[in-house]
Amino acid sequence: MSKIPLQFRHNGRDVAIFVDGGTNLLVALRELIGDMTPKFGCGQGGCGTCSVLIDGELHLSCLTLAETVAGRSIETLDGIKQGPNLHPLQRAFADNFAAQCGYCTPGMLMAAKALLDRNPSPSRDEVVEAISGNICRCTGYEPIINAILAAAGGRVSA
């Protein structure tokens, strides 16, 4: 099978790769670009840990054909840090003990970022809805919900 040339923006940087037809975005990001922050969980859209933003919208990268993101802008957890400083959401997750094993954390953070980017002061129900596509096995969700509300309210440590 011939390779397909593909160009898109990855965390603000132009990237160009060759993919096999049928390659999903998660594999393209992890194996061809080397961005290991989107995780492989279930591979069928059931867990949310592969979540990335495509042109600011939340998508499951395991269910997205790599070819469909040509010319678009992809944002992953790797890109949300602001220089040496953690993103306020990352800070709030740490402050609120919102991670245990950490495997769901990249997806939770991207789902939370997608929410706060379009709705900076969400209600608790809106936060719950925003992370409803993401499974967490360890925390019972409560600390994650609290962390997102704290980030939205500007209640994060320096």
Partner: protein, 340 residues
């Protein structure tokens, strides 16, 4: 259609660790020439916080800042033997091993400091901020870094310690069946309130209130986090999760994470937790550990709450809507019990 509220409770005694071969764990502690310390373990931290807790235990025992301790774990090539992370044993067993190792390392560190300060080691104390000084004379002081450098390059000493925690194996008395499988027990009580829909058989969690007695909470935030999260694992076992819903018939088993049911963020309810601390005599700084018991009382409490709500006693897990509905039908309708 009616939604019935019900409340149920459960209490548990939970053994810390187990009786298999004495359930030992080992730890090694050594200083680096920078004055920092490394704890070598092969115990696994899956997110429960064992690295944080063993780091605290080591720092407290050595008398150095927690920032000066690094825990290197999860590799049986580089760390001494550990039975594993199970049976709620991490804080208690591994913590005790780390404490023993740190105590031995502290002894060497104080001897090395004594040689530098030209005093008797028994006259020295640590300030917990990275210095060792003569008791009552804080100006006669040396940093742990300078002690580590002196030990390494001048005195030719290794500031290190070995630790193991082993409870002698308790054999079963052939006459009475009596044995002592554990040296300490944690305790918990949980009240669950549920709402049962008598038309669909669905059970929704309304609230949980619990009290956990787990020895000294060495890291209260981590304890709280584990209790909050673990309770939801308990709810998940009570109401959702199974690989074989019609066991022993394997039909209709989930094939993936889409079909394997677990609670989502929309299924959670308020949970009020009280942590009671009664230090265990043989625990590191009195700790027992929350471990597995954060999930355990939830299952019987939820089963009891369902009985209280609609009068059906489901005794196999998970308590699916189908089981609840069939039981309600076979008794001719919901029979709410008295509210207590």
């Amino acid at each position: 259609m009616t939604r019935h509220r019900g409340r149920g409770m459960a209490s548990i005694n939970y053994p810390i660790g187990m009786n298999l071969g004495g359930d030992p764990s080992q730890a090694l502690v050594h200083s680096n020439p920078s004055g920092k310390f490394t704890v070598a373990l092969s115990s696994i931290d899956l997110g429960q916080g064992m690295k944080s807790v063993t780091r605290q235990i080591c720092a407290e025992t050595l008398g150095v800042p927690v920032e000066d301790v690094y825990v290197d774990t999860a590799d049986s090539d580089t760390g001494p033997h550990c039975m594993g992370s199970f049976a709620s044993r991490g804080t208690h067993r591994v913590g005790n091993a780390v404490m023993a190792a740190a105590r031995e390392a502290r002894g060497v560190m104080m001897e090395a400091a004594a040689e530098e300060l030209e005093v008797n080691a028994s006259d020295l104390e640590t300030d917990g901020r990275g210095n060792i000084h003569v008791k009552g004379a804080p100006h006669r002081s040396i940093s742990t870094k300078d002690v580590a450098i002196a030990a390494q390059f001048k005195q030719g000493k290794t500031i290190s310690g070995r630790g193991i925690f082993l409870v002698p194996l308790s054999n079963v008395d052939p006459e009475t069946g009596e044995m002592s499988p554990a040296t300490c027990y944690a305790h918990a009580c949980l009240v669950a309130e549920v709402e049962v829909d008598d038309e669909t058989g669905e059970v929704a969690m309304v609230r949980m209130d619990s009290a956990y007695e787990l020895g000294r909470a060495l890291n209260p935030r981590l304890v709280e986090q584990q209790l909050v999260g673990g309770a939801w694992m308990g709810v998940s076992h009570a109401l959702y999760e199974t690989p074989e819903p019609y066991y022993p018939d394997p039909v209709h088993g989930p094939r993936d994470f889409v079909e394997y049911l677990m609670p989502g963020p929309g299924d959670i309810c308020p949970h009020d937790i009280a942590v009671l601390e009664r230090p265990a005599p043989d625990g590191p700084f009195g700790a027992k550990g929350p471990g597995e018991m954060c999930a355990n009382p939830v299952l019987p409490a939820v089963a009891n709450a369902i009985f209280n709500a609609v009068g059906v006693r489901i005794d196999d897990l998970p308590i699916t809507p189908e089981k609840v509905l069939r039981a309600i039908k076979s008794q001719g309708g919901a029979r709410p019990q008295a509210r207590r």
